[in-house]
Amino acid sequence: MRTIAKRWNPAKTVIYIFLIFITFISLYPIFFAFISSFKSTAEYTFSKTALPDQWIWSNYAYVFRNLKIARYMFNSALTVTVGMTLYIIVCNAAGFALGMLRFKYKLTIFSFILFFQIFPQMVIASQVYRICSKIGLMNSHLGLVLVWVAYFAPFGTYIMSTYYATIPRSLIESARIDGANVFQQLFKIMMPVAIPMVGTIAIVGSLAMWTELPFSLLLIQDPSLRPLSLGLAVLKGEHGIPIPTLSAAILVSAAIPLILYFFFQNKIHMGSTAGSVKG
């Protein structure tokens, strides 16, 4: 630790004030949505910042009545769970290979993955739609899951590969000499060690899948298959939706991610550090 005595840094005060400012801006949107969701439209029209005069439940009733929330949440839960399982397998397999194993064309493949990981959904969406419709994956959770994994896995792979690169090779050397095959190396030895990072990409990845919209829109038209993100998009009418109702919908959709965050904060923060440490 540092041996120099701590001197009060004026910059610290500035930063403190700034952090408080940022805290306010970070918390206010949810607070605003919260109080608005309990107001009637009439009240909201004339009072935006105050607490509700009367706390009404009708906005939430509207959201739950008009959306088959249970069904949509189930769909999201199903697709995200299966998606994450595939995602973790794929990311770990590829990440392990790239991070630890030695083979020809490693640099090329790595660059390839990094390069194609950049492209936005918009650029690939119309073709993805065409492919899915050609091979019969329209309106199916399977198609959606495959597309999700294809789109989100490259980044997860990269994260895992940097992590695996920090693990000493000796861990598998002995196993290899003993004749263990690669799947054993991966599942029995490597993944247990990488559990913390796996947990992190699992959370980050599932958040991404939970809120994903463009692909869901194009691939899922059957309402009984809708994930939650799509279900909420349905609420907006032709000329918009009254803000209190919208606020209720937002809170409903943000509920799960917020709860997950509350309980898994540490894992998530750890994940942000991937790739930050050199070598």
């Binding site: 020809k104 660059s111 950049i118 918009m122």
Partner: protein, 298 residues
Amino acid sequence: MLKKKMMIQQEQSDAYILLLPLLLLMVVFIVYPVLANFYYSLTTWKGFGTEIWVGLKNYRRVFHDDKFWYSLKNLGVLVLYIPIGIFIPLLIAAILREGLKGWMFFRSVIYLPTILGYVILGTLFSIILSQSGPLTEMLKMMGVEDANKINLLGQSRSAIHVVALLFVVFSKLGFGCIYFLAAMSSIDSSLYDAAAIDGAGWWQRFFSVTVPSISFSMQFFLVLSFIEVFARMYSFIYTLTYGGPGFATYTLEFGIYRQGFQAFKMGYASSWAVILFVFCSLIAALQINILKKGDQLK
């Protein structure tokens, strides 16, 4: 010796097997779609049905399209904010390194925007910053005259800057702080001692020790920022300003959506996608360069 050779080969084929699922998925759902844009940019296509070959017509049109030039200008403005988006979390992390009361609380809170996601963030801010929203009401209550003349998101000159501040600086702040903090944790403290003994003040130590030590992390974050600006803004723009007012917050990526999916001019949108491809390639090249230097690839 033979066993060693066999093991090397075994390792190689093992690696390929492990990589197969990812590569297969990528080729089908990413590589082919991205490259298909090259073909479709030379056609007129509605997004479904058959396409009609038109050669370079779409590209000629791009040059005369106001929206395209607005997009480039907006991307330029957004990119200019990136250094701020790097410097602020960097500074905060440097201060936090020395310990700050209540850090755990701050950490939870500033990461919140990332958890909410761009759709919710964009929607809520578009309401809050609207001319008839809570911000105006708050300003009026504080006695600001003409508070309802302020129109942050509805004036071209302010809109893009608000978007830039919110997206490039604010939404990434939490992530940036934690990221840089982790990076700084591996700096050898004796370097600071040495610098202090040489008489360096806080800022000098910051620039001569902290910054160079984590230059790799900073470069990596820089590339991430570029990727976010060029290829991850769609949902945010969609919910916050829908590209407006006028085209003040239009970007290439958003334009592809508006013209391809909303207007069913997919062929034309593909030409924009090809141009975006060029930008993405530059970013990717930069990224690979940095990683090579940083020794990430053995």
